[in-house]
Subunit: 201 residues, 2 copies
DNA sequence: GTAAAAATGAATAACAGTACCTATTTTTAA
DNA sequence: TTAAAAATAGGTACTGTTATTCATTTTTAC
């Protein structure tokens, strides 16, 4: 099963898989909902899923599909090379991870490996390139996360305090605690972090 | 001629074009350099170019190719739907603009239109959705643009002043002038703008 | 039910950016 | 060569963030 919301990319994917795996039967869908509808009927061995899809993304779809069929192998495709994303994806029981701009043989390698019950990563070294922001972000409390969302919108402590009906001092304390957890120092480093990473929280 | 640095997408593109335009001869390249090397030999009527490619992007490649062959029609493909990008692309003599996640027939429509000497946009309405930040950004002077780059890296006025060997007051003045041009007010609105739009300057 | 964690609030000092001015020197273009 | 534009620099008042430390109340979990 192949799922990607980009029709042209999906077409390329199917052609390549058909060329490489001549005996395989391939079913392609441009939406997660379509894929879910047909999953039990086609009952595939492998699902190759785009990470960034509207409504239900690749990870959520994978979780849904693996509930239906525990032995299903899932390979996630993505354009994003951010280590933080990849780390969080691997933590969610995905069997393979391939970048969309990789060469074709990366994907066939991935298929062979996951069928042999191995985990396959296109570029394992990418995981060692930066600190694990994701793990630290997970240590933020609900309120801290909410405050961080407001900070990402460039609201002042006063504005956040007013919308949440608390004292400015409370927001300033939250800012401080968040900065400490994320090991951010210096002026506006928290704002910069929030703006750059808003899609992660 | 088709040029895209994503091999899988390129494969899909070629298959679709071959299906739709059965009489056409299609040459595909995964890099701008390869495309430039072979351009005069294959002498195509249309070039379909990815916007985001390393080293030479689609716009620059288009400019190079149109110098060699003035009558060449160029269709740009992109994932980005930001009006600012599209506006600046259209200003550079591109004949067509199609989004990568569009349906297949968008591309064939575009090809028909540009061959009939029309300009084709996948979604012309996107141009009316926001203010034209690009035009305003173009009014920034060289130094203002440089300062903005430093601001986007969350440097303080003092740090920027030290690296450019000028007074902190000069940098503060630049900040002020840039903010006025971009119509930004309030605390850290310039920093937020710089971080969010750093790839535009 | 109690201990830990989270959320709330405050005081203070230092640092940084905003928003106005004014003014001089240097560069660019007509 | 001269007028306009750009870059330089300073003044001042204000707003906002950072970095500490301390303290109370509320929520959560065992």
């Amino acid at each position: 099963m192949v799922v990607d919301d980009h029709p042209i990319f999906l077409k390329g994917l199917v052609e390549i898989l058909q060329d490489e795996l001549k005996t395989a039967t391939i079913f392609a869908y441009t939406s997660s909902v379509e894929a879910l509808k047909n999953f039990t009927i086609i009952n595939p061995d492998i699902a190759i899923l785009d990470l960034d899809m509207p409504v239900i993304n690749g990870i959520k779809l994978s979780e849904n599909l693996k509930v239906i069929k525990l032995t299903l192998k899932v390979i996630i495709l993505t354009m994003h090379k951010e280590p933080d994303i990849i780390r969080s994806v691997i933590a969610k029981g995905i069997d393979g991870f391939v970048f969309k701009d990789d060469a074709v043989n990366e994907l066939t390698n991935a298929i062979k490996n996951v069928l042999a019950n191995n985990i396959y990563l296109s570029d394992p070294s990418i995981l060692n390139q930066t600190e694990d922001k994701n793990e630290i972000l997970a240590t933020l409390t609900k309120t801290e996360c909410l405050v961080l969302k407001h900070i990402a919108q460039n609201k002042t402590s006063k504005q956040i305090a007013d919308t949440l009906f608390v004292s400015i001092k409370t927001i300033e304390n939250h800012r401080n605690n968040i900065s400490k957890k994320l090991q951010l120092t210096g002026s506006n480093s928290l704002l910069t972090f929030a703006v750059k990473n808003s899609r992660f929280f």
